[in-house]
Amino acid sequence: MQGNSSRRGSVAGLPAGSGSALPALLLVGLFFIVPVVALLLRSVTDPEPGLQNYAALFGSGTYVRVFLNTFLVASVVTAVTILVAFPVAWMLAIMPPALGSIVFGIIILSMWTNLLTRTYAWMVLLQRTGVINRALMGLGIIHEPLPLINNLAGVTIGMVYIMLPFMILPLVGTLRAIDPMTLRAAALCGASPFAAFRRILLPLSLPGVAAGGLMVFVMSLGYFVTPALLGGTSNMMLAEMIAQTVQSLLNWGLGSAAAFVLLVVTMALYAIQLRLVGARRTGGGI
């Protein structure tokens, strides 16, 4: 900071070039901070001042169930995403760079495709008379269509698919930093491939798993489109509930309270993760 403050164009101790970040900072300030404050105010003033919206939220079995379900779905999606992403990330980490960038491109490409399109595509694939059920029945593997949509399975499949890149990217970074020679050394020390994975690769990749996992978990907590289209009425998630509360019931106070609780939970999780990963870095010498 001190070294930078003498540079041309710097303002009062800020690094040079801070000025060009101003538009983005204004944007975040105006369109994020201000609405969040407005949201908070609304949750304690609408329809009248007090905490009755929060009381209603935590007092009602229905709303508590939506909260629990939201966490359940986010947890399942995060766990499955980690399991699916890990082998892909490992493959990318040890692949020759030229081939790796092609596979990387494919993964990024999926992120650029419209979310709604991809979710509708899953509806076509997963429904009772969808491609997957008909193929399985045609092959004689099943006789009755599997319930793949409008339930937890449907939401999980659709969301894992969307979340994969967010898990793979940080994980590849962490895995690339691990010297493959370390695993060879572990093998010669007598570690079976599974033991080497459990005792060496997994602990060394934890920072990446934590970073990606938090990202996926937080994004899943507030997800709307995919749970709304692929989920069932019995496992509604928080974002959908907020939308209904505001749009159908016109209860802005309650919707604001729910949105604010979601924000607080998200930030608390982020703080915990920072703490854990930060502590590992200094203590573990990674």
């Binding site: 010669l188 570690a191 060394l204 573990g284 990674i286």
Partner: protein, 358 residues
Amino acid sequence: MTRPFLSIRAVRKTFGAFVAVHDVTIDVPKGEFLTFLGPSGSGKSTTLYAIAGFQDPSSGDVLLEDRSLLSVPPHKRNIGMVFQRYTLFPHLSVAENVAFPLRVRRRPDGEIKRKVADMLALVRLENFADRHPGALSGGQQQRVALARALAYDPPILLMDEPLSALDKKLRQEIQAEIRRIHRETGVTILYVTHDQEEALHLSDRIALFREGRIEQIGTGEDLYLRPASEFVAGFIGNSNFLPAEHLQTADGASTIRLAGGSIVTGVKATTSFGQGQNVRLMVRPEAFRLTPTPTSVALAVEIVDTAFFGDRRRVVARTAGGDEIDVRPTSDAEVGDSTATSGQRIFFDPASAFLFPA
């Protein structure tokens, strides 16, 4: 008859059309310190990796006490290895790194604790047990790697250029440690290096690799004093090569004519040469004298440079034929005469010189 402890039989490794290792065969007795020496790409590391199980040979076999290792996966070979790069597990303490091979073998805690203490004492790092590898110097890390590789009493220890990342002083220090550990444990060591001094210092025997083949295998003295080829003579120690013409050989002694015209008689002939065949005369720098001895022959030279290295001097001389010679006078008295630059003579005993085909 005693069977060899470790037997490398006609091991061959090809990568496409490239033959990295050509049918290498070596028998290693138990407890030997054998070094694979050679320039990079000579097949020494590939041979070592075939023993470790990281690379399957294209043909041939590796037998340990008469049982083939090839079908055994690396983690079941029970072989110790120290790598060129630091391969300690960064998230584990020094003690846990050394304990790792014992933990995966599910040894009881008491035994692990005892063994880790023994191993850290062996590499003299008792006070570093709770540190993490990141807090150790390169030399300390390689000593921990050595302790980790020996913790499970492997019959063979492989070392793949373990000191190449260290500076010279540290390298010599750890070489002494390795010698001591070899003496104390009696483990059979296969050691790969491209550093001939390291090989001479450490090994019972040296296998000198060249382009995937073993050029010569023997003790350091064999390779230094009785080199089988010009390549060996050039790779081990310093050598001067002077172009010459072979005139005749009688009773195992050859007569040659050097490029400058001088005739030298009584050179040891290891192979037979035809009359008039071009040869190269090899003389070690320390075989040259600045003063004559009863059996020596003289060479007219011009002194180009003298340099002082503390315990020795180095004199660069140029022959009448224009070849530069590296001379290592062994005492200060000899150097006294070499201040003048031209019209000098240096001497060598023809019996200490070798002839190789040109």
